[in-house]
């Protein structure tokens, strides 16, 4: 897979998103930098309010008008930040597309699944309705929807949650995008269906050689799907690396806390190691490191000075003062 001198398909530098309202401004994303090679899966792992969904939406220009976006976000070589609505409309679908958490609200209730998929193909590729419907049928078969021809004529409410999510994946893949953005696509599903969707995404991603940015709060899901993991806290990436590095080394205290407070097998009978307190208010971030008020290893300086981001290796980044001695030791 690894070809020499590949250019990243997604290259985000110092992305900031601030929601400016009259009363207050909320800094949802505060300088996020990452890049993603074609055919790789990056998972942004974080709790609610960490800015993971906003980062994803910014990559497709889906933030509202009052949001102030700065930095650069190159998707397939084009900067999405500052792109006009017409330009955005052209890349949404063939270059970048998105699947959402709630398929019921993301699909249009008054059109059949087939019509909704065909519309995208007709718009972007100028095919006839009949040819587009044929492609839609192939897509439904690709996402393994049983009796696809019949399902083509179904309205969203006639399908179960898992089927709707498959239909939405089919829709997102309609124009063979090079980047797929997935915003917690399995959170609303049952475990037995969740694993089916994860396996399906993994298989399609490999077949199409597509890059995927996957957002989730579930460590288990991240372990199942990702090549790279970026842990996000208060609008910043606090730790990045390969899935093995992040899940086994856990160099940032927040990653450590998040992983040890996530219940999984063999933790019975002992109190859970937990992170004290709540995530910070994004409208009034603490000075210094945003995690310092909840960190059990915070030094006095953490509350005053922002933590530096320390590079431990290629693509391996930790934003914590404790990481510097780690580097010196090597």
């Amino acid at each position: 897979m690894a070809q020499a001198a590949q250019t990243p398909i997604v290259d985000v530098r110092d992305l900031k998103v601030e929601f400016r309202r009259r009363e207050q401004s909320v800094a949802a994303v505060n300088g996020v930098t990452f890049s993603l090679m074609p055919g790789e899966v990056l998972t942004i792992l974080g709790e609610s309010g960490s800015g993971k969904s906003v980062t994803l939406k910014a990559l497709m220009g889906l933030v509202p008008d009052y949001a102030h976006v700065s930095g650069t976000a190159l998707v397939a070589g084009k900067d999405v930040v500052g792109m006009s609505k017409d330009e955005l409309r052209k890349i949404r679908g063939p270059v970048v597309s998105m699947i959402f958490q709630e398929p019921m609200t993301a699909l249009d209730p008054v059109f059949t699944i087939g019509d909704q998929i065909a519309e995208i193909i007709r718009t972007h590729e100028g095919l006839s309705h009949r040819a587009a419907m044929k492609r839609a049928l192939e897509l439904l078969e690709m996402v393994s929807i049983p009796s696809a021809a019949r399902r083509l004529k179904n309205y969203p409410h006639e399908m179960s949650g898992g089927m709707r999510q498959r239909a939405m994946i089919a829709m997102a893949l309609a124009c063979r995008p090079s980047v797929l953005l997935a915003d917690e696509p399995t959170t609303a599903l049952d475990v037995t269906v969740q694993i089916q969707i994860l396996l399906l995404l993994r298989q399609i991603q490999k077949e199409m050689g597509m890059a995927v940015v996957f957002v989730t709060h579930d460590v288990g899901v991240a372990a199942e799907i990702s090549d790279q993991v970026a842990v996000m806290y208060a609008g910043r990436l606090v730790e990045t690396g390969t899935v093995y590095e992040v899940l086994s080394e856990r160099s940032h205290p927040y990653t450590e806390g998040l992983l040890s407070s996530t219940v999984h097998g063999g933790m019975k009978g002992q109190p859970l190691d937990m992170i004290r307190g709540q995530p910070p208010n994004l409208a009034a971030l603490p000075p210094g490191c945003s995690f310092a008020p909840r960190c059990n290893q915070a030094a006095e300086s953490c509350h005053r000075v922002d933590a530096p981001s320390v590079t431990l290796g290629p693509g391996r980044l930790v934003r914590c003062i404790r990481a510097q001695p780690l580097l010196a030791a090597e």
Binding site: S160, D190, T192, Q194, H217, G220
Partner: protein, 360 residues
């Protein structure tokens, strides 16, 4: 050593705490059933039945945590609501600590609700937005005749018990709290009447992982401190394993398997339980799930399959599975508390993989 006292032994009335005795299950649920009618057509006649809970039988022992797991639509929440009598069961009996509920010489529904309290998933929706935190918590005790001063004092103690500083939180309103704090308030409110049994219906599911761990630790601590019994309903298999002593696995309104938590998780028998456990995301990227444990979605409880309800998704289904409903029974080679409802574990059931011989 000492000689027996010459005076007559005074026998006090049986206190509330031990009225049924230690061995008496706190709750016995027998053949509980709820069918919701679906109406349609011009005459609005009943066209179908949603068999939400169908002949569910289980016991909750004193001081244990009974976990109930299953996919959406399996009837776990309906079971909780039926136990609380928030919806009226079509059939079946409930026995609370030896007293039949709502029956002659039994315990009345309102008395039951003082002993059994519930915490829901949506922390915001289950609090009255116009009542301050302290008013919400002290409402029920005051309605039940506790003097104002005593109720307020109890509220303060409860807030402290759930880890909220009364001086800081008592006068606040629900919208001023975070999700985790609101769920703590809901737990405090549920404890205000000093119940014996707490039904936790997906109570930690909507919380972030770091906050979920805090609330789980709190629940374990409160249980020890206050001698509580929990019915813990969740779709999260890891959380259920962490907190439960015994587990009930439900599928489409039926109990498919029940037993001690270690038995169920280490040695599952029912094909559905096995598939459910295999569906858990692995936490090790080196050992990812490669095969789909189950295909398709759970079927609708509207007109469920005949016989065994799992047969449409089961890899081992045979003709006997469609013809006969399997009974929930202990298997010959497992501890007696481990019960499973599958024809493969009944000798002579007619299933080709049925176990041979053993106890009948």
């Amino acid at each position: 050593m000492s000689t027996p006292a010459p005076y007559k032994v005074y026998m006090p009335p049986v206190p509330e705490e031990i009225r049924g005795g230690k061995a008496q299950p706190l709750l016995i649920v027998d053949k509980l059933r709820k069918y919701f009618p679906v109406r349609g057509g011009v005459l609005n006649r009943v066209t179908a039945m949603v068999k939400a809970v169908d002949d569910v039988t289980f016991e909750v022992q004193k001081g244990e945590v009974l976990g109930i797991v299953g996919e959406s639509g399996c009837g776990k929440s309906t079971t909780a609501r039926l136990v609380m009598q928030l919806i009226k069961p079509d059939a079946g009996t409930l026995v609370y600590d030896g007293d039949p509920v709502g029956a002659f010489r039994g315990i009345s529904v309102s008395a039951l609700r003082r002993k059994v309290q519930m915490v829901f998933q949506e922390s915001f929706a289950s609090l009255n937005p116009r009542l301050s935190i302290s008013d919400s918590i002290s409402y029920a005790p005051k309605m039940h005749g506790t003097p104002r001063a005593e109720a307020d004092e109890r509220t303060e103690r409860l807030l402290r018990d759930v880890g909220l500083n009364p001086a800081q939180f008592a006068r606040r309103y629900p919208h001023e709290l975070s999700g985790g704090q609101r769920q703590r308030v809901n737990i405090a409110r549920a404890l205000a009447l000093e119940p014996k049994l707490l039904i936790l219906d997906e109570s930690v599911s909507a919380l972030d992982k770091s906050v979920e761990a805090q609330v789980l630790n709190l629940l374990v601590e409160l249980k020890q401190k206050r001698d509580l019994t929990y019915m813990f309903i969740s779709h999260d298999l890891n959380v259920v394993e962490f907190i439960s002593d015994r587990v009930l696995v439900m599928y489409l309104g039926k109990v498919v398997e029940t037993g001690p938590v270690d038995e169920i998780y280490r040695n599952p028998r029912h094909p559905y339980t096995k598939a459910l456990l295999r569906s858990k995301p692995s936490f090790d990227p080196a050992h990812r799930t490669t095969e789909m444990p189950l295909t398709g979605d759970p079927p609708s409880p509207l007109n469920p399959p005949s016989g065994c309800r799992f047969r449409t998704r089961c890899a081992f289904a045979e003709s006997v599975c469609a013809a006969k409903v399997p009974e929930l029974a202990a298997t010959p080679d497992s501890p007696p508390q481990h019960e499973v409802s599958c024809h493969m574990f009944v000798a002579g059931s007619g299933h080709s993989r049925a176990i041979s011989g053993g106890l009948s």
